[in-house]
């Protein structure tokens, strides 16, 4: 269905090709998972399938890409639109119309299908993806998961035989991600659509894949194989696989279901053991408090009567559906957004009343789009401005950055950094002023496992140094790894607030894989289990 014949892609100005000598074949009706580090060329690979590379992005493509018998060299994306449907990373940026129904019809209009066919297919697509209730809604008013499903439906309605998705679940809460993956699963099984998807969160998708393609980056050869084969040796793997390797299970389980069947002996072994927890500083004084907070946009309350207090050295995770009010709460804590009702104190002062520089020294937020904060044309300049803003010793920001991301060059343009590097840069800019309260909004969106691990280490160290950290996230594995406390928001209200293990193990939606495998015991990460096994061995 898709054939790459010795394909190399070089972007203008780059000294080496992004993809080098890729030859592979993807047969019809398979669900193929593409993994690789950020910046390894995954997106380039996906975009080459429908000819966006190089027709739209520029650069040179050597070799041939043949899709359903058509060569992309002679067929620009628009001539392949009837065969390949592409769902980009951020669906909102690619919506052409305002309303769900129109969006579903747009691709068919371009293909010139007759009006009665369009009517019929719009109805079919609405049913297939469970969008019937949303048909007249404005796209802007949809939640993240709904948007993603509309974006899939919009390309699907034109009946392409190949569906290409770039990180379809990275911005979604666990529930919405499951919805989207279930829809994809149905397409592959019921309609024989070929699906190629890139995803960092292997734990969500690996059990659905027929094939895994690893793009190692830096021009190294691409690897292709079955998920079980690839996972046995892959340097990065979801927790379920890592636990399987640790416990020596054969065959290696890829899903929680398989792992749970194999986990009986491990559970018995762990009876009586307790997970080792990070020591939280004794200091009970809260550094940030929110008392009876209500935030309204117009007449609608985004948050209502929320109470929260955060102590120094504590890591608090805010979880909840897309649109539950997590971002609003973080924004209120730095004093942006609509005027809140209720009381917010950061180190005893109202953040709204603090002038810019004083704010920087008491609370810092790394927003969902970190690149919003970047404006200089080199890293060095960006760091210098940050030092000036924070009124700290020149070189402070640069030193922090060298510690967190030593590979970043001074002369690089911030836009040329990978997503993860950009996040670390912004984190350093915010940290230059050493705010006692650090807030992060969806920090792991689009990050690969190694970068995520590095971020988790950095945040753990910061918490150890006495920073209070609040992060809003959908990433249950990160929360299991990092958070001391979890607060779950739903429709603007706090519905749960407590110790991480207690909150996440009691809810299937927010439980990490290890907790699902080993419940009812309260284990959250592979690391905890490994520690416990070591101590059992020492004792016995």
């Amino acid at each position: 269905m898709i054939r790459f014949e010795d394909v190399s892609v070089t972007y203008p100005g780059a000294d080496r090709p992004t993809l080098a000598h890729v030859s592979l074949h993807i047969p019809e009706g398979e669900l193929v998972l593409v993994v690789g580090r950020t910046g390894s060329g995954k997106t380039t690979f996906l975009r080459a399938i429908n000819g966006l590379v190089p027709h739209f992005t520029g650069g040179t493509l050597k070799g041939r890409v043949i899709v359903d018998g058509r060569d992309t060299a002679t067929h620009p994306p628009r001539e392949l639109a009837d065969v390949v449907g592409v769902v980009p990373q951020d669906p909102m940026s690619a919506f052409v119309t305002d309303v769900v129904e129109d969006e579903l019809a747009y691709g068919m209009e371009s293909l010139g299908l007759p009006a009665d066919t369009m009517r019929r297919r719009v109805e079919e697509t609405l049913d297939l993806l469970g969008l019937a209730d949303l048909r007249g809604r404005a796209l802007r008013t949809l939640s993240g998961g709904q948007r993603q499903r509309v974006a899939i439906g919009a390309v699907l309605a034109a009946h392409p035989r190949i569906l290409v998705l770039d990180e379809p679940t990275s911005a979604l809460d666990p529930g919405a991600a499951e919805e989207v993956l279930a829809a994809l699963q149905r397409l592959v099984h019921d309609l024989g659509v070929t699906v190629v998807l890139a995803e960092h969160r292997l734990e969500r998708v690996v059990q659905y894949a027929d094939q895994v393609i690893v793009v190692p980056g830096e021009g190294r050869p691409i690897l292709q194989g079955t998920p079980a084969d690839m996972m046995r040796s892959a340097p990065i793997a979801p927790p379920v696989v890592e636990l399987g390797r640790l416990a020596g299970w054969h065959p290696l389980p890829l899903s929680v279901r398989d792992a749970r069947r194999a986990a009986g002996p491990l559970r018995d072994l762990l009876v009586g053991q307790q997970p080792r927890l990070r020591a939280v500083p004794e200091d009970d004084r809260p550094v940030a408090t929110v008392d009876d907070l209500t935030v309204r946009y117009g007449v609608n309350a985004a948050l209502s009567h929320v109470d929260l207090s955060v102590r120094a050295g504590e890591v608090v995770a805010l979880m909840g559906r897309n649109g539950a009010g997590k971002s609003t709460l973080l924004h209120a804590l730095v004093g942006v957004g609509p005027r809140p009702e209720g009381d917010i104190r950061v180190e005893g002062r109202d953040p709204r009343a603090l002038p810019g520089s004083a704010l920087l020294h008491s609370v810092g937020l790394v927003p969902q789009e970190p690149s919003d904060l970047l404006e200089a044309s080199t890293i060095a300049e960006e760091c210098r401005t940050a030092d000036r803003d924070a009124a700290c010793e020149p070189g402070t920001t640069r030193a922090l950055l060298a510690l967190m991301a030593p590979e970043i060059d001074d002369r690089m343009h911030p836009r040329d950094l990978s997503e993860g590097q950009r996040l670390l840069l912004v984190l350093c800019i915010i940290l230059a002023a050493r705010p006692p309260v650090l807030l992060l909004d969806e920090p792991t969106r689009g990050l690969d496992y190694p970068t995520k691990a590095r971020l988790a280490q950095v945040l753990t160290d910061l918490a150890g140094a006495g920073h209070a950290i609040v992060l809003a996230t959908h990433d249950v594995e990160l929360v299991a790894d990092l958070a001391d406390r979890v607060v779950i928001l739903a429709d603007g209200e706090v519905v749960a607030d407590g110790r991480t293990a207690r909150v996440v193990t009691s809810s299937p939606m927010f439980a990490p894989q290890v907790a699902k495998i080993l419940s009812p015991q309260e284990w959250l990460t592979v690391e905890q289990v490994a520690d416990a096994l070591v101590s059992i061995e020492e004792a016995g």
Binding site: N50, G85, S110, V336, L359, I430
Partner: protein, 369 residues
């Protein structure tokens, strides 16, 4: 009361461009201010509650900046015009071999008025464009962009979505400045935020164009190569002729007699090319935006206002070009006033907007986004 629906965005653009063309034909400050008022009233009446609906305010601010810059340039570098001295300032006149440019110098009332009228005219044109950006849904307009000439179509997509993206971005950037501990108001704030805002908005417009491309926008129909060449030549030639005609029409220096035929000829050629390309039916419509009575009224009122201003400058040239040397109180030419009364029509002739289906979710999403 007509049913609530979206007016065809093309109608809003015809109306707004008519207003802008009318503004370009006059320097009468009263007429220009009235044009701005008309635009503001119509925008107030029919502006949707969307992020790009705020474009009007953004363009008004841009207009004010234009006036300030125009006046400042006149005071700093402008040639000495008039005799009424307002303020004594020291100045230098550069020697003849440096073109005899004058720097600084006394502030003359006449020069000030000239710059003010000129700046106001440019600002009014900008504000009329802003009104179109506020009123016409950019996404609905995108659906109507003809795909006959692919490259041109993509440029139009990028151009059309750029201003709305820009306006939606400004709030985000203000938040970002606050997070870096900067001031969020003042000239320096605007200056340093400008680059990321422009970059971001352009990037998003290009992303959108890429998405449209991969969904089949601009696919070739079963046209033969020679047919395609004829169509492209006709369309390009037509657009160039129309542009020259438009330029002659709005440039106050050149006679309208030359511009109008060229504009009409060019428009006819371009429409002919589109019809020719459209005959092969590469594209179909799911639910086409209707073009009915309200659209005719709105577009017609735009044509009427430019016609009225053109007639006005024929019968009453002094009323339309208010003399600044010596300073004269501006008059109010009757044809122009009548034209503007017609231009107000869209405030009631355009159908009211449909209510958003679900307010609570949208509000929360805006926060999340």
């Amino acid at each position: 009361m007509p049913d609530a629906r979206w007016l065809h965005p093309g109608a809003w653009w015809v109306w707004a461009l008519g207003m802008a063309a009318a503004a370009s034909r006059t320097t009468n400050p009263l007429l220009l201010l009235l044009l701005i008022a008309v635009a503001a009233i119509v925008v107030q009446a029919r502006r949707p509650e969307e992020p790009w609906g705020r474009s009007f305010g953004f363009f008004v601010r841009l207009g004010i900046i234009v006036i300030v810059v125009r006046v400042a340039i006149q005071l700093l570098f402008g040639a000495a015009v008039g005799t009424t001295r307002l303020v004594d300032l020291p100045g230098v006149t550069l020697p003849v071999w440096m073109a005899g440019v004058r720097l600084g110098g006394d502030v003359m009332l006449e020069a000030l008025l000239m710059a003010l009228y000129d700046g106001l005219r440019l600002a009014t044109i900008l504000i009329c464009i802003g009104a179109a950006n506020s009123l016409a849904s950019p996404t609905r307009l995108l659906k109507s962009v003809p795909a006959a000439l692919y490259e041109l179509g993509v440029s139009v997509v990028v151009a059309l979505t750029f201003a709305p993206q820009l306006v939606s971005d400004i709030d985000r950037l203000r938040t970002a400045r606050r997070l870096r501990g900067r001031r969020t108001t003042g000239l320096r704030a605007i200056g340093s935020a400008a680059i990321p805002v422009l970059e971001g908005a352009l990037e998003r417009s290009v992303t959108l164009a890429a998405a449209m491309d991969s969904r089949g926008y601009g696919r070739r129909g079963p046209l033969s190569a020679s047919q395609r060449r004829t169509t492209s030549a006709l369309l390009l030639g037509g657009l160039v002729a129309a542009a020259i005609g438009m330029f002659a029409l709005v440039g106050s220096g050149s006679p309208a007699v030359l511009g109008l035929p060229l504009l009409l000829l060019g428009a006819a050629a371009a429409i002919g090319a589109l019809v020719l390309a459209g005959r092969t039916r590469v594209r179909t419509r799911y639910r086409p935006d209707p073009w009915s009575l309200p659209e005719w009224c709105v577009a017609g009122s735009g044509v009427a206002v430019v016609a009225a201003f053109t007639i006005g400058s024929l019968v009453d040239p002094v009323g339309m070009q208010t003399p600044f040397d010596p300073p004269t109180w501006p008059g109010l030419p009757l044809p122009a006033l009548a034209g503007m009364a017609i231009a107000l029509l869209p405030a009631v002739a355009a159908p009211p907007l449909p209510q958003p289906a679900s307010a609570p979710a949208h509000v929360r999403e805006e926060v999340a986004a």
